[in-house]
């Protein structure tokens, strides 16, 4: 853990007794009260706390929903309707859980975008970043498994399409893909057996996520938080203690976030979902458009942009796995895009192309939609594989402040703050 002042004082005899045997309270105090946070963090830095909140909401509502849900192909759809209609506040629990998944992804995309903009993936935060990518992958898996559970038409056909992706491996080793798909399904088609195991895994993975989140926070507390300048904390005046300063700010941001969350829960609970999932799964009727949930759409667009099935699958998974190598793909010594006048615009263009891919993922793969999907897919990969490594070497960064304090208070303020200590 990073070195900083320890102000923990055991107040009672019990606390003193415990402190000598298991200094848990001292550790928590050190990490979540005394922990120095950069004084210049903006509101984009509140999404870490918001994401922790989202995970807890999903786990708590999920545990209660599982008490009423029946993971069977005959009864799953009925049990969801039972929850919506007859379970006390079941409509609320179900809405919070379903909307919560979308909110979780909304927050994680802001969190990732912030990391990209301010270079939070660069040394010494590589492991912190990689753990984040792993959490994101686990979230995608959990969200996908969870969307299966209502056993509506989109659930069923979404599973059919996505699990079938693995059959593309048949073109590498004949028979391998089919074997894997059969193994995933637990039979020769998507069935109640598949639903049952997906439910089991959907219940398991959030706890795995919680474990990796603990590692993510641990790694964060070793290297300390990045900040909008990308300059490390150097003096005492560069930081404020986490409590009450950062905690208070996080709490306010969290409430604003919950207002958006509650808006969807109470006024538009079905807006983020798909009407076809209110039709019970039917293996004999294919929905006119099979579309994943909105948070997977950019990757779905990449999948469909490639004319070859295997190529599409490789690029789709590659587009996420690429993130693992980001700390080494970016060659610039400057962290924050704030001081990278050219990179900044390439990054903004990357965000635009990611959103555009999301839009295209919801459209039928025909005509101009495919052409635009290809253009944005090419840019997606070019950004990471060409622009990041090359631009980092060529670009001249703009002048940077010497410290966080100087960035906040200006030169004079920094000297005044320095003379105070």
């Amino acid at each position: 853990m990073a070195q900083h002042e320890d102000t923990y004082k055991p107040g009672s005899r019990l606390e003193r007794w415990l402190d000598e045997r298991l200094p848990l309270a001292r550790m928590m105090h050190g990490q979540f009260v005394d922990f120095p946070t950069p004084r210049n963090l903006n509101y984009l830095w509140t999404f870490g706390g918001i994401l922790t909140f989202c995970l807890m909401v999903q786990i708590v509502t999920g545990i209660v929903l599982a008490m009423h849900y029946v993971p069977s192909d005959k009864l799953a759809f009925d049990s969801i309707e039972h929850i919506r209609r007859d379970v006390n506040y079941g409509w609320l629990l179900r809405n919070v859980h379903a909307v919560g998944a979308s909110m979780f992804f909304l927050a994680v995309y802001v969190h990732i975008a912030r990391g990209l903009y301010y270079g939070s993936y660069k040394a010494p935060r590589e492991v912190l970043w990689i753990l984040g990518v792993i959490i994101y992958l686990l979230m995608m898996a959990t969200g996908f498994l969870g969307y299966t559970l209502p056993w509506g038409q989109m659930s069923f056909w979404g599973v059919t399409v996505i699990t079938n992706l693995f059959s593309s491996l048949d073109s590498v080793i004949p028979g391998l893909g089919t074997k894997i798909v059969t193994w995933l399904w637990g039979g020769y088609s998507v069935s109640g057996v598949t639903l049952n195991r997906f439910f089991s895994l959907h219940y398991l993975l959030p706890f795995v996520i919680a474990g990796v989140v603990a590692l993510h926070i641990w790694a964060l507390h070793v290297v300390g938080q990045n900040n909008p300048t990308g300059i490390e904390i150097k003096t005492r005046s560069d930081s404020v203690p986490m409590a009450p300063y950062a905690v208070m700010k996080d709490l306010f941001a969290m409430f604003v976030f919950i207002i958006v969350f509650a808006w969807f829960v109470f006024y538009a609970p079905d807006y983020l979902g798909h009407a076809d999932n209110y039709i019970e799964a039917n293996p004999l009727v294919t929905p006119p458009h099979i579309v994943p949930e909105w948070y997977y759409l950019p990757f779905y667009a990449i999948l469909r942009a490639v004319p070859s099935k295997l190529g599409g699958v490789v690029l789709m998974f590659g587009s996420i796995l690429l993130m693992l190598f980001l700390p080494w793909l970016d060659t610039s010594r400057v962290r924050s895009a704030r001081y990278r006048p050219i990179f900044k615009w390439f990054l903004v263009l990357f965000f635009v192309s990611f959103l555009a891919l999301g839009y295209l993922g919801a459209k039928p793969p025909e005509g101009w939609y495919v052409i635009w999907s290809r253009i944005f897919t090419i840019y997606y990969f070019a950004f990471f594989l060409l622009i990041m490594p090359i631009l980092g070497v060529l670009e001249t960064p703009s002048p940077m402040p010497r410290s966080i304090t100087e960035a906040v208070l200006g030169k004079g303020g920094a000297q005044a703050a320095a003379s105070k200590h």
């Binding site: 209609r85 056909w157 059919t160 048949d170 538009a268 076809d276 004999l284 839009y359």
Partner: protein, 304 residues
Amino acid sequence: MITSFGITGLARSALAAAVMAGASVALPGAPANAAGDAPPPHIERQTWSFAGIKGRFDTEQLQRGFQVYQEVCASCHGLKRVYFRNLSEPGGPEFNEEAVKALAASWPNQIFDGPNEQGDIATRKGQIIKRPARLSDPILGPYDNDNQARAAQNGALPPDLSIITKARTVEYHGSVGGHVVQMMKDILNAYQESGPDYVHALLTGYKNAPADFKLAPGMNYNSAFPGNQIAMTEPLTNGRVKYQSKDIPATVDQYSRDVTAFLAWAADPRLNERKGMGWLVMLYLAITAVLLYFAKRKLWSSVH
């Protein structure tokens, strides 16, 4: 539309092919197979009492809507996720409980009550053993199973109507920019009524087919239905249902508004409770957020 799965390029396994072969057997009235290449019909947005953040169901409209369902729709369609008891619960049609009891007892589509003590599921005459419905029973349609329904309906399956307004939607057709603006507007206005809009458009969409339109035998032209061919014959005609109140017009448009509102309630019986609680939650969150903001500002004033 089967090709839409194929174009993802994912359905190469023999199994998926088999599933698709199954899907290609056209099921009249099944929405997935009905869509043709024709441009999607324009569906007009309607005004609903239950729309938006202040929306609530209109009890009298739900009662009229139930009357339309009972006298017209129920001859083919079930409502199996709605129980008779729901008809007298708050936030719904709020019929008198005794009246609902009587309604349940006289509902023509009775509840399967076998096997009896002898283990029989049918009487000696071959009739399936049934009993009159009670408050705790679902509102069933006339058919015991899908096969029976198809046999009676020339191969078409009249869907259960319990969540039909949630299971239908209207796709946006327009420019990219317009779509983004529309999405923002819909979120802020809490617009979720594309399903009811569609059902209303369908019920009022029976028209004479254009001269060049090839209508399959036994099918009907409908301007809202994807592909414009629907197995269901025109269910509503002016004056078909006799409302008690003389102030309510006995027109197809009015009937379809009322029955759509009733079906929207059937699909979302907790809507009044949800939107009512929403105000309190939003108020609490807003006040707390404001307090937190000022607390944060005061706290940080010594830092910045």
